[in-house]
Assembly symmetry: C2
Homo-oligomer: 211 residues x 2
């Protein structure tokens, strides 16, 4: 095994360090974050930092990068109070990746990448029509991580849209069956293959496969 | 597509809601969190909420559940200041899952599950010997999410241990090659298969496969 120390990390070239450190947390969720500003201009951004915070109330967080440069998604979320998170599957990950290009403020990443903005019912933020599993959220709170000027944005799930055949009788969602994919590092996408679903762990016995 | 509303979620049975909401953020990292208390008693806990926060300084976060019940990992981290995160591969995920059983305070999950506590150099927290990719962290800051009494724990990477053949020339780590796996929901484990690594996105061209 190779050791890399804190001092080694400090001395690394910026992009090398970014690729390395981004790889270490493990496989990541990939979601498209849909927002709209007060003039009706839509925005779409891929994020890999979505994290489950709790089920009751249903809370989801993500890390927003420093707002020292304009962050349209963050501005739209705090201005309108609403946003969507949309899972990505193998047919749209290249378009999803492309949303991370630096388009000018007047360009919607929906238009630039060919993904379709879809307003459902009276929910105030756009979904991605091509996505198979998506949630609508209301902004609840932000936490300023002054160590590096990032922000933990916490929202509450207001509605869920998913295919009927992926929701199990016990509430478990088979996101692999929905085609959701995962990513690693800054730029690498992976499909998944289930190993097993395991029973609830108890001290006196080994976990058993479920289903 | 099926819609599930905020009101539907509020009316769900507790475990059903937990399984559903835990599935929605997407695929998750799975890490074993290694700590030790001031008496030398080790603790090991599986967590699926690790999130990348930034590369410079190298910061990693995770969500700790409410401390209204004893959380040995959290107590050890704040008492000693140090902890480890260890990737999981297909040969050890059942043991990793088993660490989530409620063992009494005097039992180390290392002993109970057959995983091996390994102290490397003078780093103050135990690694998992069987893990192939692991990082040692120093506690930096906590953020209290009063919406549901969880805590975002932020640490700074002090050292990295990884196989030499998974670190690319540009800093990207091939965690799939290291055997790292991912999970979904509360209890389902998946291996991965790479789709592609994509070039940095620019507005004027489509992303290209790397390698």
């Amino acid at each position: 095994m190779q050791q890399i120390t804190r001092k080694d990390i400090a001395g690394m070239e910026r992009l090398y360090r970014g690729r390395l450190i981004n790889s270490l947390s493990g496989f990541k969720s990939v979601n498209l974050l849909g927002t709209v500003n007060s003039e009706g201009q839509t925005n779409l951004a891929m994020i890999s930092s979505v994290v489950h915070i709790g089920a009751n109330p249903p809370l989801v967080g993500f890390i927003s990068r420093p707002i020292s440069v304009p962050r349209h998604s963050y501005q739209n979320i705090t201005a309108t109070g609403f946003y969507t998170l949309n899972h990505i599957h193998a047919d749209i990950y290249q378009q999803a990746h492309q949303t991370s290009a630096r388009y000018d403020a007047g360009t919607s990443e929906f238009d630039a990448t060919g993904l379709t903005a879809e307003f459902r019912g009276d929910f105030a933020a756009p979904y991605v029509a091509e996505s198979r599993l998506k949630i609508g959220l209301q902004f609840r709170e932000q936490f300023d991580i002054t160590l590096n000027d990032t922000i933990l944005v916490v929202g509450e799930i207001q509605e869920i849209w998913l295919p009927e055949d992926v929701l199990g009788e016990d509430g478990h969602v088979d996101i692999e069956r929905a085609g959701s994919i995962t990513c690693s590092g800054l730029d690498t996408y992976h499909k998944t293959e289930r190993l097993q679903r395991l029973s609830y762990a108890k001290p006196d016995r080994k976990p058993k496969p479920l289903e």
